[in-house]
């Protein structure tokens, strides 16, 4: 699973929100076919910024983002989405006044012909969304909203799913269910790159992990090893 150049790879990424700041100072990341990669680190390490650069919301100042070896950095978000990289933002990741069904339709906006079949498949898979299909997204609970956001991303049958802190603000029970859902999506063959504050849970379902500190790679390796590493536990996992 870890051999080869990777499905998605970043190399030496430098990026920031203004002309002078550098949130990412040099980040390398590889996501292979069919794996879950967790990206963890302290606040301000650049984890979410990394996903925004990959999704095309920020243009890197230096470095590259490649999908199956082809450079995609600098392309517009919708082009990157059409190539199979689906980004689920941490907040404001649904259209609040639109119904659950309409949200899914917008999730599959670039591929309208498959929309009906895929919506049916999503309702079969996520019964909690099927029950609320005519409800406005703003009326959903936090956990349901995150499931909807992921389901919207699945509408384009992505090859890589980028999840930005999916469990943020969820109660422990809801977070646990969400991680189960993420694992199930991965078992269907979708590679996942996930930024998480909940580091132990994130490493528990991941194949590999990356730890970012101050916009640079700090440590990386198989997730179980990272979760056991005493230094990592002390610094990032609270003990």
């Amino acid at each position: 699973m870890t051999a080869g150049p990777g499905l998605l790879a970043t190399e030496g990424l430098v990026a920031g929100y203004t002309a002078t700041d550098e949130v990412l100072k040099s980040v390398d990341l590889v996501v292979h076919d069919g794996e879950i990669v967790s990206i963890i680190g302290p606040n301000g390490a650049g984890k979410s910024t990394l996903l925004k650069v990959i999704a095309g919301l920020l243009v890197p100042r230096q470095g590259s983002v490649r999908l199956k070896g082809t450079p995609i950095h600098g392309r517009r978000p919708r082009e990157i989405s059409a190539l199979g990289v689906a980004f689920v933002p941490q907040e404001q990741n649904v259209f609040p006044t639109m119904t659950v069904r309409e949200n899914l339709e917008m999730g599959g906006y670039v591929e309208p012909r498959q929309s009906r079949d895929r919506i049916d498949a999503i309702f079969t898979r996520f019964s909690q969304l099927a029950d609320k299909r005519r409800h406005a997204a703003r009326t959903l609970s936090g956990g349901q909203r995150q499931i909807l956001a992921m389901a919207m991303a699945l509408m384009v049958e992505p090859v890589v799913l980028l999840l930005d802190e999916p469990s943020a603000g969820l109660a422990p029970g809801a977070a646990e269910k969400l991680f189960e859902t993420i694992r199930a999506i991965n078992q269907d063959g979708v590679a996942i790159a996930m930024v998480e504050q909940n580091a132990l849970e994130a490493l528990a379902i991941a194949h590999r992990g990356y730890i970012l500190v101050d916009g640079r790679n700090s440590t990386s390796g198989p997730a179980p090893e990272l979760a056991r590493d005493p230094d990592v536990r002390r610094t990032f996992l609270g003990g």
Partner: protein, 275 residues
Amino acid sequence: MAGTILAVPAIGFTAIFAVLRFPNFTVAAHATIGAFAGYIANTALGLPAWAAVVVAFLVAGVSGVLNDTLVLRPLRPSGALTMAIAAIALNIALENVVRFVFGNDHRGYELALRRDWRLGSLRVGPQQVENFAIALVAMAAVFLFLAFTRTGKAMRAVADNPTLAGIKGIDADRVARLANLVGMGLAGIGGMLLGLDTSIDPLTGFRVILSVFAAAVVGGLGSIPGAVVGAVTIGVAEELSLLVLAPAYRTAIGFVAILIVLTLRPRGILGERAY
């Protein structure tokens, strides 16, 4: 009925605000442009009122798209306040283009003279009923477009969450052009409906812009059902004000309504909902 006619340009104004996030005051000039386009279609081409309304929609809508693309869009990075001020300036320019072409005279549509209908002690003009019906059809068409078409839903998505809409592959520029076409087209229909009720001149739109703005603010800026509720509220309040105030003070109703809403419920009656 006055409220229903006011609702048409108010929906146009609020739809553009929902997508582009600035008050496009050229709604006033586009109401005038629509009124004159309908006038040409009616008097020169001999089209009946309902068909001339379609011409009013198209001419005002296309003008809205062109004006946004050529004049307002380049200013978008400067922010909403700059855009609003530019829209006021553009409105003055457009009004004067109409004045340059058609002059200052009041003009009337060529409509068949029809006897008023009597409903007990109430007298209703058939043209007023037709205007009311046209306004209802225009509003119903907008609702159906937003509720059931892919493009209409994309417009609501951009209004709801423009960043996410971009991530999902919705072309924000295309949606902005569409919002201008529909919004200014509705302003054009509104202008023509006002003209069918009375007469038209280069200030047709300017006279109602405060009421249109007040309707959108009262209902909740960016909310299309809110614009309807706001327009009916303002329309009825303006008519009732005639019982206690001189007609000259009628336009003050809009100001008072904006003051009350901004003080008591700044998000408007229905809040900020695109649809």
